[in-house]
């Protein structure tokens, strides 16, 4: 699954199934486009199945980037474990937002989310391009080792 550096870099973006918060999604999509990414933005209220379908439609996608701010991340991502296990979502999953209900946060939620198949939890959307670049570099390193 090698990629040309010149080929457009695709990411899949969306907000979790029960979450209608749109503003961060609009802004992140815009920022990633500004960084040269092709953003497949599934928008708000996106169930895991819809992320999986987008992965199928865009096999070159570098990552699925999911936002969740209404506190329902755990429940909304319940199906992620299966989607990752079956390969329905093959690329890494980045998650960010406000990941649990309440004003004091229990960090146990993060490990439960990693258990579900999230690959990286970020705070600040500004970290996205850097992380995507880092992963691409590591992928290239793996491929060149395979090619050598």
């Amino acid at each position: 699954m090698q990629q040309h550096d010149a080929a457009p870099r695709v990411v899949i973006l969306g907000v979790t199934a029960s979450d209608a918060h749109a503003v961060a999604n609009h802004l992140i999509a815009h920022a990633l486009r500004g960084h040269g990414f092709t953003v497949v933005n599934l928008g708000t209220c996106t169930p895991v199945s819809e992320f999986a379908a987008a992965c199928a439609a865009h096999p070159a996608a570098e990552a699925v980037i999911i936002g969740s701010v209404n506190g329902h991340a755990l429940e909304d991502l319940r199906d992620l474990r299966d989607a990752k296990a079956t390969g329905a979502i093959g690329c890494p999953v980045i998650l960010g937002g406000n990941l649990s209900v309440g004003s004091t946060k229990d960090e146990g939620v993060h490990s439960r989310l990693y258990d579900l198949g999230v690959d990286r939890i970020l705070e600040d959307p500004a970290e996205l391009p850097g992380l995507l670049d880092e992963w691409r570099a590591r992928r290239s390193a793996v491929w060149s080792r395979a090619a050598s």
Partner: protein
């Protein structure tokens, strides 16, 4: 949670409502309007039934709000009742609201009977028919929503025609209840997507929803407007509500202006959040709102705990202080904003109201972008309208998209934004919009301001001086 019996027939619920002997929300609003007080109401909802009882009890005890709320969780809002029921069972703390449909109307009655003040259901459901039945069976007759305002901010792909039809059913049910002598207070969610919503866009949506609701039989309307942050603009928007009601709604309908304390990105520091809460409450007083929905100092972090919620209410209640008679708004500025917003609302709603089938006209207008909202959660609005704050902090329209605003209106907004004629620089715009969204945290110095935008920089004004 046992299997829930179907809600009783309407007449029985009406008897139950009468038997409660409580003031209705409409009564409370009418009294507030008559006495010039602002009724104060929290948002509050947690997943477990006992936790919800405790929450309502604590708020009633510690803060004596004029109305209480059952805020519904996101799953229920979207009609995912099975999911809501499962969580209510297994892990109610993971719900961001009270799953009323799952808990059922008998528990709804229990909550209603627990407190002396009327209770409102606040949710965000494009299709609220079942929830409305459960609410009425619970004896609750204050119900937020609308076919536009509970669709576009709250779901991705529900056609407007469907949500309008579902809400027309709810509103007709309100008419039936009115015929049986029960006035339902129907609050319209003019807050929409809450972030940088131009006042005319908010009010236009409420006028259209109000016209549809009144035709369906609703007799008491609360028109909610989200505090934007600019005093004269916000006061004018609230004062526009009765004017618009006289202009566009039948005389028999009571209409109450309602202010939602700032609904966008809240400051994180407690003191700063409290400054904003107090400011919002004062705006409600100055704008003549019948009711105020409060926020808490935990807003930036998550659903507040009961103590923080009560403190937010108590702080907001200071706006009813008899010692604040000296507060005043710049009446000239407010009058100017009022004239502008009334003209803009006319430009937005009159083409729609000119058509015969108003609901259909609304659907077509949104499809064509002649009605539009910023930052839509739904595909059924184009979000081509782009707002910005002007140098004084007021929310203006940078790009009207396809809104049928007069050239004069468009020119005025551009002038207020100190814009030249060229197209906006998109990268700069993104930074500027982000700064506008983070207006209050920035004003309080909580974040470093975004890199200086390349387009016309703000000049004088609140932000610059902070």
């Amino acid at each position: 949670m046992t299997t829930e019996p179907a809600p009783p027939p309407l007449a029985e619920s009406v008897d139950y409502i009468r038997s409660l002997g409580k003031e209705s929300a409409a009564d409370v609003l009418r009294r507030a309007a008559a006495t010039g007080r602002v009724a104060v109401q929290p948002r509050c909802g947690v997943g477990g039934h006992d936790a919800m009882r405790a929450l309502l009890g604590t708020l009633a005890d510690q803060a004596r709000p004029d109305l209480l709320t059952i805020t519904i969780d996101s799953h229920t809002r979207l009609g995912h009742f099975a999911q809501a029921r499962r969580l209510a069972h297994l892990s109610p703390r993971e719900l961001n609201g009270y799953p009323l449909v799952a808990h059922g109307w008998r528990r709804g009655r229990e909550l209603n009977e627990l407190v002396g003040v009327p209770v409102q259901i606040r949710h965000g459901s494009p299709d609220a028919r079942l929830m409305f039945e459960v609410a009425v069976a619970s004896g609750i007759t204050s119900f937020e929503g609308g076919g536009i305002s509970y669709n576009l901010p709250y779901s991705k792909d529900v056609p407007l025609a469907d949500s309008l039809a579902a809400w027309a059913e709810v509103d007709r049910r309100c008419g039936e209840l009115a015929a049986l002598g029960v006035t339902v207070d129907r609050e319209l969610f003019g807050t929409l997507t809450a972030v940088l919503v131009p006042p005319s866009v908010s009010l236009a949506v409420s006028v259209l929803e109000g016209v549809l609701a009144a035709r369906a039989g609703v007799r008491c309307l609360s028109v909610a407007y989200p505090q934007g942050g600019h005093l004269a603009q916000d006061v004018a928007a609230l004062r526009a509500v009765p004017v618009l009601a006289r202009r566009y709604l039948p005389a028999g309908v009571e209409v109450h202006p309602v202010l939602h304390e700032f609904m966008g990105v809240f400051p994180r520091e407690r003191g700063n959040a409290e400054d904003l809460i107090l400011y919002g409450a004062l705006v409600a007083r100055l704008g003549g709102a019948s009711k105020l929905l409060t926020k808490t100092y935990q807003e930036a972090f998550g659903i507040p705990d009961a103590a923080a919620n009560a403190e937010g209410l108590r702080l907001a209640q200071r706006a009813n202080s008899p010692l604040l008679g000296f507060l005043a708004v710049d009446e000239g500025a407010a009058a100017e904003e009022l004239a502008w917003v009334l003209a803009e609302v006319a430009e937005l709603v009159e083409p729609v109201l000119a058509e015969r089938d108003t609901a259909g006209a609304v659907v077509r207008a949104f499809a064509a972008g002649r009605l539009d909202i910023p930052f839509s959660a739904s595909r059924h609005a184009r979000s081509e309208v782009i707002p910005r704050r002007d140098p004084t902090g007021a929310i203006r329209i940078l790009a009207p998209g396809r809104l049928p605003l007069s050239p004069e209106t468009v020119r005025r907004h551009r002038a207020q934004l100190r814009l030249g004629d060229g197209p906006p620089d998109l990268t700069a715009l993104h930074l500027e919009l982000t700064a506008d969204i983070n207006y209050f945290p920035l004003l309080f110095g909580e974040h470093r301001p975004a890199p200086a935008p390349r387009a016309a920089a703000p000049e004088a004004g609140v932000r610059a001086s902070a």
